[in-house]
Symmetry: C2
Subunit: 214 residues, 2 copies
Amino acid sequence: MRLKELSERSGVSTATIKYYLRERLLPPGERVSATQAEYGEEHLRRLRLVRALIQVGRVPVATAREVLETAEDESLSQNTRMGAAVWALPHGPEPAEDDPETEEARRQVDALLERLGWTYGQELGDTFPAYGMLVAAIASLARLGYPHETDHLLLHARLAAELAVADLDLVEKYGGSPTERIEAVVALTVLYEPVLLALRRLAETEESGRRFTD
Amino acid sequence: MRLKELSERSGVSTATIKYYLRERLLPPGERVSATQAEYGEEHLRRLRLVRALIQVGRVPVATAREVLETAEDESLSQNTRMGAAVWALPHGPEPAEDDPETEEARRQVDALLERLGWTYGQELGDTFPAYGMLVAAIASLARLGYPHETDHLLLHARLAAELAVADLDLVEKYGGSPTERIEAVVALTVLYEPVLLALRRLAETEESGRRFTD
């Protein structure tokens, strides 16, 4: 298909597609004349993922390029490709250093991962941004004096694992090449975050309404 | 306690506390001389919540003031106080208007809330920001061609409800006045969001590692 059709089918303006091409977020089309190129289904698929990362995940352009290059690098193992993609998502402030709450939170996270048998997170530890994000969040709870018992964290982890199983079932149901599957996992990870937060806020309000009626 | 002790016990600098006092995020202390005021445990508690909202929840100062004033307004019902506080949390872009994906997402959310029996969300609908956030997130999934089946959303909702029950159990266990309970629900809603997202990213990586090994 030509640029115009790619724009119509993706809902992305031709100016934005040209910008993504210049920034190498999209691979170039196949040149058919001096001024025209032909694009395929893989461009359409890639465009969807770029928009998921940039518009919903608020990933900076340079980071998005890195995520996509890693996800598609067939010389790497699928594990590495997948890990590196989730890695690059924005993850808030780094945990503070040399701070008793951070040290305690780190011990708590390590114990939690071991108890869950999450070997990937254990091996990568500190180098994995979601690990640092979790440590920082638990240290905040401790510093502000709010409860952060391991049982309560375990419940969150167990439910997160249940969501991951359902997401991966969905990805496997849709099939596709290894690259397509990795891209789908990244997209679902990003796109379901606001769904989950919104539902949780609704649920918290619902549950408090049920208990705290005057 | 004096300002200096309030600063030491809360870990917030005296300059920041003075700023919060000027911005009416903290009620004034009891004047004991022309230059000194006495602060109580309620100032310490309030200061924790202010930091949770501003530092972790990234709530703007003016919004934080509104959340706190509503949460403490004893002329309102507890339900309203709680709802209004969660209401004010940042919730991303508004859903697009007059757009087929948004209309379809709205129908899907309404059906979901009805099936869940979440009456609060149903009654408030569009005026509740978490509702709009959910509609916008589902419309994004649809627009980008990613799966958003009702069953998958129901699973997320069911798990969110389980978390809400556990959070509220925790709040009830800690006890306190109605105002303290409302404040605790707001703080837990905000502070556990990064915990949940980090655990979900770890779980997604873990589960893909388990399935997609080379």
